[in-house]
Subunit: 267 residues, 3 copies
């Protein structure tokens, strides 16, 4: 078997249309034995931060040299550039709109190229579906071992945004937000042990978290520790504080959702 890099997809194309299927068709036409794995294709439509979160939570579990294709691309067909980023041990193919920001944040070695070699595109290139016509074929050629230098010149002014972090409001008070509600109804906040270590410091500290209509004062280490219907805080597998419930959707109990404000007060 010749050299092969695995390919993953993180997109907002959804599963109800043919979009992801067309991308995979293009990939397999170029590399019939490509291994393509979905991280998720259900990123919230047009939501670059949601895509950035998804890929940043999963890319590092894959074998080194994996090519991660990340397409949340509301600016498709406009001036934003298609890029290949070599970040740590991985390659990324994406629009240059900040969707790799949370990956840049986690790694030290970053090198970004502006993809300009139309030789590697699927022609004709549409104005509205570069996932199929640019990002998929470029990833397929990368999976076959084509060198990143062949796709275009290095750039240093790539787009990078900072993830929203909780803000200190007073000495022992912070305001954060719900980054996303997951399939279980867990409210994943933007609060990590780095931001407010006092929450996670063990049972002696007391805190009060408000989100939606709920007030949460209990920290647990796993979902089953909570009483039925009770809301609690825990450090989730994402590395962020979650507001959760035992066998219930915390989002419904708290009447909160993505974007909801989360306030934290330490006693």
């Amino acid at each position: 078997m010749p050299f092969q890099r695995m390919i993953t997809l993180t997109t907002d194309f959804g599963l109800t249309e043919h979009y992801v299927g067309a991308m995979k068709g293009v990939i397999h036409s170029i590399n019939p034995t490509a291994q393509v794995v979905d991280i998720t294709n259900a990123v919230q439509s047009f939501d670059v931060l949601d895509g950035a979160l998804a890929v940043s939570q999963a890319y590092h579990y894959f074998p080194k040299d994996t090519v991660h294709v990340v397409v949340v691309d509301p600016g498709v067909g406009g001036p934003r550039r298609p890029i290949i980023a070599t970040i740590g041990q991985y390659l990324f193919v994406a629009p240059d709109n900040g969707v790799l920001s949370l990956v840049y944040e986690r790694e030290e070695r970053v090198s970004v190229r502006h993809i300009t070699s139309e030789h590697y595109f699927h022609h004709p290139v549409s104005n509205t579906f570069h996932g199929r016509d640019i990002f998929a074929p470029v990833a397929a050629y990368l999976s076959k071992g084509v060198d990143t230098a062949k796709f275009g010149e290095e750039i240093t002014d790539y787009v990078r945004f900072l993830a929203p972090t909780p803000k200190a409001m007073a000495e022992n008070s912070w305001k954060g937000l719900v980054l996303k509600t997951d399939k279980f109804g867990n409210l994943i906040t933007n609060i990590s042990p780095k931001n407010i270590p006092q929450i996670f410091d063990g049972p002696s500290k007391t805190f009060k978290i408000t989100v939606g209509k709920a007030e949460v004062t209990k920290l647990v280490s796993n979902y089953a520790e909570g009483a039925p219907g009770e809301l609690f805080a825990l450090l989730g597998s994402t590395g962020f504080l979650e507001i959760s419930a035992n066998k219930a959707a915390a989002s419904r109990v708290a009447m909160a959702d993505k974007g909801s404000e989360v306030t934290v007060t330490i006693a």
Copy 2:
């Protein structure tokens, strides 16, 4: 590695049950190294035209010789025939209910066989799930290189319908419809440059499109050209006219959906 044809799936079986998983199990039991790729399994339930659209938009991006399994099959267990169609460079396995109509339309060489060799079925054959018991195993044998002639006799009276096209209402007026609303809320119409070239002829022409509660008079070449919240027309990656919005669901803005009437007037 022996000869292998790739397999794709386009079905209305959904992702919430075990249906697609059972089909893949049957395929891998017959051909353990089969490569199976989903085009989509979220075709609207019972909707043969929706399945026809999905496969017609994606099949040609796959390597030649790919076996496309297309199962939208409300007549399962009744008199409709299971077929293998050789169309252009591809093989299709499907019920003979017209679900391949839009593929027939795009290709010149078509040869269809009625699948009758029960030897290639998964037994016992249920009355309600031929996806698992007939179409999946037949595709698996085809992927291993079994000749199409082994599965049954050629037929010429296969079912074929015409996709709905816009109708001329007056000299400069047409009535079309929304074929589907995609995950982004784009309203994909049945209007193509072949039908009403005047819409796409450049900025000098003026047109008025009505759909739902909206009136659209602007043509753009990509989504980012539109102002926030504004509805516009563009030629989508499907080859059809779309009514869309920039980072918003046009379907919600226009209050229109699949099946909505679209009227076009050229000034």
Copy 3:
């Protein structure tokens, strides 16, 4: 190619987040050429019976030696044990919460081990995502041929529940329930020919089934036999009685859903 067992996934992790992608990343990091197939990742959240149903309906269609990973795990991080079960010709990796009960029911040979060898875990092991940190890596090592004995000691007190079966209420009267509503709106009940053979005995028998607001007195052998909008009973591909409609969602027509009571009276 070295010895390989295929891997399947049946989980409630959903497709909207990165959870399943992270599991696949861990698997491919350990076994780059693993073949991973989704049975479904849309099991109802926290619903062990729903997961048990899904895997029991699909596992036996896969090649022998397949490793089925089944993660519906509301007790993650608590005292419930992770297990490897050798059942018939297959291996299963799951939490010991009964999610394999319906598979145990179908097979004679069952041998279960408590997974304790942390050597095969992904470290650090989180408290809330053993799908990624325990079940995925264990499955990956099994797929490479590691012997089950290496993962931990055999146990016999594994958790096993009985699927809910219809109850006899009077001489010719039973009460069952809707196990699930599928994507088509079919109401899949817990009634099989073993429980009430009289329903399936052919046209001479008469029965009355009530579910939601509907009364059903007709048995058909496939969906297309029903008149439009009419509700009917049929023996579904799952082996259970379904209440269905022809090209319509029976759940909407009957105003019934998962958990609804189903009463059967034989005349």
